[in-house]
């Protein structure tokens, strides 16, 4: 539950809107993420997979193809996500 709350807070920061925006968050399953990464590797889709854990944890172990943006830095380092506000972002 805590993880979901933290991820949701990150998403709310990224959206820059209210808690009501939580309704917009789709949940991705492991199988779906596998398929999405496969499609991304083939150039069929594009999205950012964003690890919001601490850098120490990210460097220890991460899902291949993800970038690290600790949720404590979301508001200050959002530039790491690029300028395209419509680009799909999957957080974990």
């Amino acid at each position: 539950m805590e993880k979901y709350i933290l991820l949701s807070m990150t998403c709310i920061c990224l959206l820059g809107t209210s808690v009501a925006a939580m309704e917009r968050f789709d949940i991705v399953t492991t199988h779906e993420l596998q398929q999405m990464l496969e499609k991304r590797s083939q150039g069929d889709i594009d999205f950012l997979l964003v690890n919001t854990l601490d850098e120490i944890i990210f460097r220890h172990s991460a899902i291949p193809g993800s970038i690290n943006l600790p949720w404590s830095q979301v508001s200050t380092n959002a530039a790491a996500l690029g300028a395209d506000k419509n680009k799909m972002i999957v957080t974990y």
Binding site: C11, H60, K85, M88
Partner: protein, 165 residues
């Protein structure tokens, strides 16, 4: 920030690994037999340390709280409760421990107890600090949530003491 197409992989790394998928590692943490104490044990240790003004006969800290909860460093409308103790409490982001000047504030003598939200990240702090020779660090089982659940004493501080300035 205006991003409009956000999804959550709620299973996270745990489910990813459980499903047999590969992970990547840039800087694997050393194996370390990190120990945890529960909230009742910590309360007893705090009470014992406070009877000695939190110091041993050589003037070294008997007990230090290393509070790693990220929420201390985020804007919040509500005060964040800390564990009530007269012994030193250091507040830090986990990643602040990367900085030598921040690590230098963590005592190498006496007990250091890490506090996280639910006790899940303590082991990473212990494993990371073990790289630098720290052997006196234990985690709080179930983190601050476990402490509060048992109604152990808390305090609201006017200000915190960040380990890194």
């Amino acid at each position: 920030m205006g991003f409009r197409n956000i999804k959550i992989y709620n299973g996270g790394l745990k489910d990813w690994i459980k499903a047999g998928n590969k992970t990547v590692s840039i800087d694997a943490l050393p194996e370390y037999n990190g120990k945890f104490i529960n909230a009742d044990e910590l309360l007893k240790e705090i009470q014992a340390a406070e009877k000695a003004n939190c110091m041993d006969a050589d003037g070294q800290n008997l007990l230090t709280i290393l509070d790693l909860r990220t929420e201390h460093f985020l804007p919040t409308e509500h005060p964040i409760p800390d564990i009530h103790t007269a012994c030193p409490t250091l507040h830090s982001l986990l990643d602040d421990l990367i900085q030598p000047d921040a690590r230098a504030r963590i005592p190498r003598i006496g007990r250091v107890v890490t506090i996280s939200e639910t006790g899940n990240r303590d082991i990473f702090a212990m494993r990371y600090l073990s790289k630098f020779g720290y052997t006196n660090i234990v985690g709080l089982e179930f983190g601050m949530r476990g402490w509060i659940k048992l109604n152990h004493p808390i305090q609201i501080r006017d200000s915190i003491s960040p380990i890194r300035h």
